[in-house]
C-alpha cells in the first residue's frame, strides 16, 4: 500500500457522488419551486376584490318564507347577504347608491357572528370538502385611523400579519357618521336679531352638525353657542370650522358671506329625550325675528364623510 494512486479513484468517487446526490435533490426541487405561492395568491387578490365590492356596492338582503328586503340590519337572524350600501327603498333588490355606506348596516356588521361573516362573504377556501377560513381584516379608515361609530372602532378580523403575503384592496366610500342640518342664513330666526335660535330634540348617538351657508352681514363674526342658557365651551362642547373642498379649516371668529360655516356639537350635550334650545350668537348679523324657530330634527339628514374601506385577506 505504498502507492497512493488508488486513493484518487476513491476521492473522485466521493466527489462525484456528492455532486450527483445534490443534483438529484435540485432536480426534484425545481417543480416545487414554481408551484409555491403563485396559485394561492392570485385567488386571494380576487377574494379581496369581491369582498370589498360586495360590501361597498351591495345593500345586503334578508328573507324568510313570507318576506324579504334589503334592510337586513333590522332582521339579523334572517340575514342572507351582507352589504353596507345605503338604500332608501328596502323592498327592491337594486341599490342606486353604491359607495354610500349606511351607519345602521355598519353597526350591525360589527355584531355579525364570526362564522356567519366568513360564510357570507366567501372568505374561505374549500379543499376536498373541508373549509379553510382565510385570515382577514376589514376596516373603515379616516386619515389612517379606524372610524369610530357609536364608540366602536370599525374594524373586523385579525391584525395584518407581517410575515405573510397579504392581498389588499382599498375603496373610497362615503360613510354616514351622524346627522347634519344644512341651513341658509335667510332661514335662521331669533328673538334678538343677532342670535339664531334652533330647537333640538334629543337624544343623539353621534355628534350633530349644523351647517350654515350664505349668512349675510358686514364684518360679522361668530361669538358663542348656548344650550338652555348654559354657554358651551369651545373645542370640548363644540368645534366650529369652515368647509373648503373636503377639508375643514379652523375658523377664528370673523366670517365672510361665502363661508360654509360648520358647527359640530358634542352629542353628550343633548343626551336626554327632551327639547333643547340652542342659541348661536353672532355679531353684526341681522336675522329675521321669530318665533317660529328652526327645528334641527326637521332639517337634519345623514351626514356622509369620505373614508377608505380596506379589505385585507391572507392564507
Amino acid at each position: 500500500m505504498m502507492d497512493e494512486k488508488g486513493q484518487i479513484a476513491v476521492d473522485f468517487l466521493l466527489g462525484i457522488s456528492l455532486f450527483l446526490i445534490a443534483l438529484t435533490f435540485t432536480v426534484q426541487f425545481i417543480p416545487g419551486m414554481f408551484m409555491s405561492g403563485t396559485a394561492g395568491e392570485s385567488s386571494l387578490d380576487y377574494t379581496a376584490y369581491r369582498t370589498a365590492t360586495v360590501l361597498v356596492e351591495d345593500t345586503g338582503w334578508w328573507g324568510n318564507s313570507t318576506s324579504s328586503g334589503t334592510d337586513w340590519e333590522t332582521q339579523p337572524s334572517n340575514m342572507m347577504r351582507i352589504g353596507l350600501a345605503a338604500d332608501d327603498e328596502p323592498k327592491s333588490k337594486l341599490t342606486n347608491s353604491p359607495n354610500l355606506l349606511s351607519k345602521a348596516k355598519i353597526e350591525q356588521f360589527m355584531l355579525v357572528n364570526e362564522n356567519t361573516l366568513i360564510e357570507n362573504l366567501g372568505l374561505y377556501n374549500n379543499v376536498d370538502n373541508t373549509h379553510f377560513s382565510y385570515g382577514y381584516n376589514i376596516s373603515i379608515n379616516q386619515e389612517g385611523v379606524p372610524l369610530v361609530l357609536n364608540s366602536t372602532a370599525i374594524m373586523r378580523g385579525k391584525p395584518t400579519p407581517l410575515d405573510r403575503e397579504v392581498s389588499k384592496i382599498t375603496r373610497v366610500v362615503l360613510v354616514e357618521t351622524g346627522t347634519v342640518a344644512v341651513l341658509k342664513g335667510s332661514e335662521l330666526t331669533g328673538e334678538i336679531a343677532s342670535e339664531a335660535i334652533i330647537n333640538v330634540t334629543g337624544p343623539f348617538e353621534e355628534n350633530i352638525t349644523i351647517q350654515i351657508r350664505n349668512l349675510n352681514g358686514a364684518n360679522h363674526s361668530f361669538l358663542n353657542a348656548v344650550v338652555d342658557n348654559v354657554t358651551l365651551t369651545p373645542s370640548s362642547d363644540y368645534t366650529i370650522y369652515k368647509k373648503t373642498g373636503w377639508t375643514d379649516l379652523p375658523l377664528n371668529g370673523s366670517l365672510t358671506s361665502t363661508d360654509l360655516i360648520c358647527l359640530n356639537l358634542d352629542h353628550n350635550r343633548f343626551n336626554l329625550s327632551q327639547d333643547y334650545k340652542l342659541e348661536l350668537r353672532f355679531s353684526n348679523v341681522t336675522l329675521d325675528p321669530g318665533p317660529p324657530f328652526i327645528r334641527y330634527n326637521n332639517h337634519s339628514s345623514p351626514l356622509y364623510e369620505p373614508a377608505y374601506l380596506t379589505v385585507e385577506v391572507w392564507q
Partner: protein, 147 residues
Amino acid sequence: MRKLSKNEEGVSILFEYILFSLICIGFFMIITTNSDDIFMKTPNEAVMQDEMSDIGNMMSTMITDMYLILPENGYIDTEYRIPAKAGREEYMINADIAYTDQIIEVISSSSGKKVRVTIGGIATTMPINGTALSSSTNHVISYDSRR
C-alpha cells in the same frame, strides 16, 4: 504473488470503474423512474392549479360584478374568453352546485382534478346554474329578469 500484490494499480482501476459505473447507473435509474413525475406531472399540476383557480376566480368575479348591475326588467349577457386547455387538459366549469355551496367548480375531465372557488354570498339570493366546457367556442353568462 509478491509481484502481483506489489502492483495494485490494476485493482484500483477496476474498482474505480465498478464503483463509478454503479453510482452512475444508480443516479440515472432514480432520474429515469422519476422523470415523468418530476418534469411532466408536477409542473403540469402546478400550471393547472394556477390556471383553474384563475378561471374559477374570473367566473366568480364576473358573476359578482354582473349581479350588482342587474336590470330590474330586462336582460344582460356577456361573452367571455377562456383558454381551451388548462395545462394539457380540457376542463369544465360547473356552477350547478352554486346554490347549495356558494361555490364554482372547475374540473378537469381527464384527470379529475378539481378547483373550487367561493362566490361571496350571492348564490343564496339568486340561483346560479349552468356548466361550460372549455372546448366549446362561445361562452356566455346571461341573466333575464323575465325568465
